[in-house]
Structure formats: C-alpha cells, structure tokens
C-alpha cells in the first residue's frame, strides 16, 4: 500500500473546516475527526492512485483518488464535503448536482479525474449560514424541502436554472427542475421559491 503524500495537509484542512461547521440543532457530539481514505496501488500498476487538483468553491483542493473515483465520492468520501448527496448514483435523481465550470451536472456520473483544474461549486460554496444566497433563502422561506436530502441538489439546480433564464413561467421552471427528484413532494414550494428568487436576482 502506498501512502498518499501530497495531499494530506489540504485534506486535513478541509476536514477540520467540515467539522467546525457542525452546529445546532441535533448535532451528535460523538464525532471524531475523519480519517484519510488510503488509496492504494491496484493490481495492474497503471490504475492506482492519482492526484487531482480541483478548484472547489474557489479554493484549490488537491486529492489523491483513483481514476474510477466519481466527483461525488471525491467530494463526500475524500474531501469531507458531504453537502452534495448520493441518492441513486446513476444520474437519475439529481441529488448530487454541482456546478462544473459554471454548468450544472450530476457529480455521480462525473469522474473526478476529468475535473482536473476545473471550477467545482458545491452547496457549501453557495452561501454561508449568516449570509444565505437568494435561492437558499427562498427555499427556506417557502419550505421548498422536507427531509432536506435532495435540497442541496435542488438548490444547485435552481441557481443554475436562474442563470440559464428558464424562469419564464411556472411550467418552464417545472420542466427545467425535473432532473431533481424530491420524494417528499415539495415541488410546488420549490417552484414558488425559484419564482421568488428569480424575481430578486
């Protein structure tokens, strides 16, 4: 097993940031710092760990992953950025939606290795607790979610949709939000939130 050497420091930084952000309500207190996953050389010798430097939320994030590691797993399992959710891992639910070079994509079907040097924006980069982005604030006000699991993907999709100018009517919003499944069925509130946020944009 080969030890990752390049990225440990950055990873720890990212990890600590992740923990520092935990707060009320309901945060279990029994959390301990996460370990570094340890990518290891695989059998063929050509397919082992690689280093990829992503630009995540405006900051360089070097990661040691495998060529087969999805952007979603890189974010969740390697970088500790768990705001991006895994719902189906097959591109069919939209919970993992992030922006890559400004476009909304599903990170589960994106290879992290192909994102070298690209700008990745996740829900963690969209706003902060004290200063919600307009879409986040509208989702909160209109209760555009219930369980909250699809919500980061919905919000990333909604933010992109507003930039794409697909807010001409409720029908248009619905169609262009149909790549994000909400099993709690918050759709009417999601549409209301987007209409509201688009009006303020």
């Amino acid at each position: 097993m080969s030890e990752p050497s390049v990225t440990r420091r950055t990873l720890i930084t990212a990890t600590i940031t992740g923990i520092a952000m935990q707060s009320r309500p309901g945060q279990a207190d029994d959390t301990t710092p996460r370990s570094l996953p340890e990518p290891v050389a695989t059998h063929s010798g050509q397919v082992g760990p690689i280093t990829v430097e992503l630009q995540v939320n405006g900051r360089a994030l070097p990661l040691t992953v495998e060529p087969r590691t999805s952007l979603l797993d890189a974010l969740r399992e390697y970088a500790g950025l768990t705001g991006t959710k895994k719902g189906c891992d097959r591109g069919a639910c939209g919970a993992c939606t992030v922006h890559v070079d400004g476009r909304r994509v599903v990170s589960c079907l994106t290879l992290a290795a192909r994102c070298q040097g690209k700008a990745v924006t996740t829900i963690e980069g969209l706003g902060a607790d004290s200063q919600l982005n307009a879409v986040q604030a509208a989702f909160l006000h209109h209760d555009g979610f219930q369980c909250g699991y699809c919500t980061p993907g919905q919000i990333m999709s909604a933010a992109a949709l507003i930039n794409e100018c697909h807010t001409g009517s409720d029908g248009e919003i619905r169609e262009w939000m149909s790549g994000n499944i909400c099993r709690c069925g918050a759709y009417p509130n999601i549409v209301a939130a987007i209409r509201d946020a688009a009006g303020k944009a």
């Binding site: 707060s23 309901g26 996953p37 495998e66 590691t69 797993d73 069919a92 829900i123 219930q146 099993r183």
Partner: protein
Amino acid sequence: MPYIGQPIDRVDGHLKVTGRAKYAAEFAVLDVVHAVLVQSTVGAGAVLDFNLDKAKSMPGVLSIVTPQNALKLATKGGGPQTVRAPLLQDMNIAFNGQHIAIVIASTLEQADDAASRIQVKYRRDEPVTSMGSVLGQAYPPKQFRNGERPPDSMRGNPDENFSSGAAKVDATYVTPMEHHNPMEPHATIARWDGDRLTIWTATQGISGAQSTLAALFDIDPANVRVICPYVGGGFGCKGSTWPPATLAAMAAKIVNRPVKLVVTRAQMFTSNGYRPRTIQKLRFAADDEGRLVSMRHDGFSQMSLPMLGEFSEPVGLATEMLYSCPNVAVTHRLVPTNASLPTYMRAPGLASGNFALESAIDELAVALRMDPLEFRLRNYADADPHENKPFASKMLRDCYQQGADAFGWSRRSPEPRSMRDGNVLLGWGMATSTYPTHRMPASARVRVGANGTAVVQVGTQDLGTGTYTVMSQIAADTLGMPVERVQFELGDSTFPHAPVSGGSMTVASVGPAVLAACEAARDKLFDLALSDPRLASPGSDRAALRLQEGSVVGPAGQVPVAELFARHGQDFIEGSASAKPGAEQKQYAMHAFGAQFVEVRVDADLGEVRVSRFVGAFDSGRIMNAKTARSQLIGGIVYGLGMALLEETHVDAETGRIVNANIADYLVPVNADVPNIETILVNNQERNSNPLGAKGIGELPMVGVAAAVANAVYHATGVRVRELPIRIENLLT
C-alpha cells in the same frame, strides 16, 4: 401570540439549505472502512458454495463475511421493529436479491469492485413470483395490527343484503408492489468500543434500533447508542431495523474497525421492505335512495415466505368505519411468495384500501346516476359504526364543502367524456380520505439555563416532517421564551425514549411529553418565584404566575429568569416528564379525515394522463405549524399522484428478480408532473384526541388520491381502471 400554529420557518432549515445537516453516512468517524452488500441472483434455493479467491485478492479487501463465517446472532428478544432475516445466519435463499455476503475494504471503490468478483454456486429452486398462482394458499395473518385485533370483522349480514341492492358493484381492484425510495438510501456507520456499539443509522426509530441491535448481539441496550439527527426521508422503509444496519454492526465487529455501509439504490429494492401488491375483491350494494346496504371487502396482500416475518396490508380499515352501513364484512389474507418482507409504506392499508373503496363508491354513484359527493353525504357516518363510539372529532362535512367550493365541483358535468379542450379530455374526480389517529408513550427532558435559553431533548426523529420545528414551538410557548432561544435535540438514544416516527403520531406522542416536561421545569421556576416578594404575596400559588419573554410575571410585577437563578445560586432548572395515552382512547374513535378533488387532462388519442389541478381539504385536528403542515399535505398528495399514475415495481415472473430496481425505471413524480395544489385545513379546534389536539398529518393526504385520480380518469374517458398505476395502454380506446 403563541408559536403553536404559526407558519414559522423550519428551525433546521438553515442547515438543510446549506448542506450542513448531517445524515447517517456523513459523520466523520476515525479509521472508518467501507462495506458493500452482495445479493443473490436466484429467487429460491440455497447457496451451495462461494468462491472468494478472486475477491479476497483484490486490493484493500479486509474481510468477506458470508453465512460460513458470519457472527451467530441471538434469536430471542427485540420487538416489533426487529427484522431477523436475512442476516447471513444460513445458506437458504428466500428471494432474489437477498443479502448473502458483505465485503469490507479500505475504500468504497475497492469494496464495490471486490463484491462484483465473488462467485456463487446456487441450488436453484423454482420461486413463486406471483400472487395469482398461489392465491389458494392465502392464510389469515397471525399478528394483524401487531395482534391488537383479529384480521376479519363483520357486522350485520352483508352477503344476504347484497342481492337486495338497487345498484351493485362486484369488482376486483389491484394495487402493485411499490417501493418507498426515500432520497437518502439506507445508511449506517457502526463502531464498536469493546462491548459498546455506537451506530449512526438512517432510521425512523432509534429506540427500536437500540433494542433490536442489543437483542441480536446479546448486549445490554445501554451499551448501544443510536445516533440519527436527520433522516433523508423514510415513508416507512426506515421504520424497522433492517438487515443492513445489523450487518454493518456485524462487519465492524469482524474487522474490528468502524464500518460504513450504504445500501445502493438497486439494493434498496430488497433491503427494507415495500408496499405489498394487493388484490381486493369488493361487493357493494346501495338502495335506490343511495344508501349503502351491503359492503364486503376481501383483501389479499403479498407476503414473503413466513420465515422472514409477517406484514399484513390492512386494506379494509376504512371500509369498516368510513360510511354508515349496517352490513359490512372485511377480511385480510396473506399470500406467500418468494419476495422480501413487505412493510409499512406511507398510509399502509389505507392508501391501497381506499383506492378500492373509493373507486367502488364512485362506481356505485355512477350506477345510481348520483353525484359522487352527494352519494357520500347520504352515507355519512356521524359516529364510528365499527367501534360504536363517537368520533373524537369529525369535520369531514366541512372538508367536502370547502373542498368542493374551492374546486368548483358544482360546475361538473356528470357524463363521462363531456368536458373537452381540443384533443384533451377533462375529468373531475373526488374521493374521501381518512387515517386513524395514533399515539404512543413518550418522554422528554428540558434544561432551562440562566441565560434564558432552553435545551429540550427527546429520542425521537425528524424525517422532514418538522419535528424539530414544532417541538421548539411547543416548548417556546410553554416556557414563554422566543423560539430562537429553544434548542430542540433529537436522534440520540441517550435522550428520553420516544416511539418510532410512523403512523403520523409524532406530534400526538412526543408533543405532550415536551409540553409536560416544559411545564415541570416551569413549575420549578414558579416555585422559586413564589418566594420572591416582588412577584407574589404570601399564599399565592403558581396559577398566579406566567412566563413571558424570559421573565416570570406575577401579580406584583416581573423578574427576569436569570435574576431568579442568580438569587438562588442555580445555573439551570431541569424538567422531565412522560406522557401516554389515557382514557380518551377508550372513549372516542379517533380518525383524521379529508376530501380530495382532482382535475386530469387525458390526451384523447395518446392516452397520456396529466394532473392539472388539485384541491385537498383536511381535518387533521389542531395544526402546530401552518407552513410545515402544508408541506406534509402537498407531499402526501404528490406521493398519491405517483401511486395513481406512475409507481410499480416489476418482478420478473421466472426468476423473481426485480426488473426496475432503479429510480430511472421505477417512476416517481418529477416536478413537471405536479400542478398547483390547494390545501385547506378545517379543524383547528380539536381537543379530544390528545393534549395537543393533533390528529396526524403525514399519511392522511396520500389516502384517496389514487381513487380521486381514477375517478377523474373515468369521468374524462369513460374507462374505469381498477388496477394501479393507470397507464397509457388502459386509455387507448
């Protein structure tokens, strides 16, 4: 103004919209490794042999657990949420997609890859894959409604009176196997510290998980800590403690490392239950004045092989009590197949049963040439005809009236195919909704600090239903403090006990406990205050005091709580309480009600059905938060629309393997499927059901939706569809 009832934003909303709410798989646990489940590809038989050579040689693999080296689990103890199979305790295969092995490796990629390299030699028996082939083997459930009542009921003589009816329906209705598909897959992180197990798991019941894992691993429940602050949707499939959680704990014990096990979306279809397929035979008759004279509802629901447990879909519950009819028979039977164990799914029994019931009622109204709403009013039950008791409250007439007014029902032209817009046929349909009001014991504790804040703790869950928010509102009102000062904590089994979050009973169960605990703390505060001359004169009692904006207010003036604490040298005051159902349970029949109105647009040539308008009017008792309540209502309606038009799990007839075990082919509603939904709440006065008057709101809005849509499709097209989901091919007339 009290907080209860106000549409305040969710108190956990900031965390959810910023991605910082942490779900089970997202906790940072030192040295965690990854587990992946391996499932059978045959539907019946046994594993004869595993070839693990290739898998074991893969990089990063730490261990592979099969029935040959699995830990032996205890076979006694646990409770109704305990699932005992399949837990790798033997080599038998009861269904296709059964867990047969666990691969544990350093990374998820490694575990997943190695899992695909396991070779399995099976004995293949012929699986029973359809109910139809074994309907004759149907048997009565042994533990119907957890053994609280027999599976059959009868009043009067329905069979004799059927023949005398002026209008009759004798029809069979079918609902498919459906899967919950919450957006968060089942996920667990398990860590052992000696004999102590800490488990972060996606569950609707941390207390059930605690008792189940303690029983299976034969350890003291106090040594099991279950943590689950957020659940990414449950809908029933996270109610029991299903095998993946137990297997994660087993894997962690075997590799002596913390283990993370996230079930894949495909595996979700055989890992944590489903709504069983039902075949329902209804024989209803009404006299020529539109009074029901006979109702018989024989329900058959799909089951696994009995060795996996038992679950019965209670399809006849509403038939017993919804209408005033002297002759009613209801039966429930189970049909064993080679499928995994079914379970509760949003409005179990009622959702499936009401599709049949409310379709048949519509068919009777059509036969009588009577408006379907008028027909229902003629058979309105003012008291519960099944239990012979008054309802704690029933404002269903108001639901009908206000729903019909909002929808414009009076403008409906009764004839099928009579409303048209170009190529599109319009249909208007309606149905009644009902769901029983449940309540179970719960406990709570609160600590009021000198700084004017309160922390309330209950071992309950928030599935997105709003528990954090409404409990904060209840506490804030009781403690007389701004809701921002209340921190409500849940999802930790070290907190006071609460029941599973299911059956729409969390507010009714946990709310009174929170109320009582806060009252207990408040009383202690008042006792301090009574000794303060600025507030009370000698002889005055607590009733003279109240809490308001962080101060105790008495006849003589007010004192900030912080000052009271300082004077008495206290940093905080604690209150704890338990609350449980009382005599009202025997006194009243308790149900929530609603009326669903829907407009569909059916392409006359292409058969596509689109829902264009929906109005739901509900009596779910007192509302804690108008905003989260509406979300529950629209969410339930959307779930019902999926049931009506999209959802069905397909099982391959030859192998018993689920064909559409993914969320691209198992269709759930997307945003474009859902129109504007108007919701109306009619009863905010309820006090009889429980101290908060909450009758439950999570499941009610789903009930009746499928029937309302089917009735609307009939009105649009003249085609009566008695099997869900309603499909294009049903309507290519």
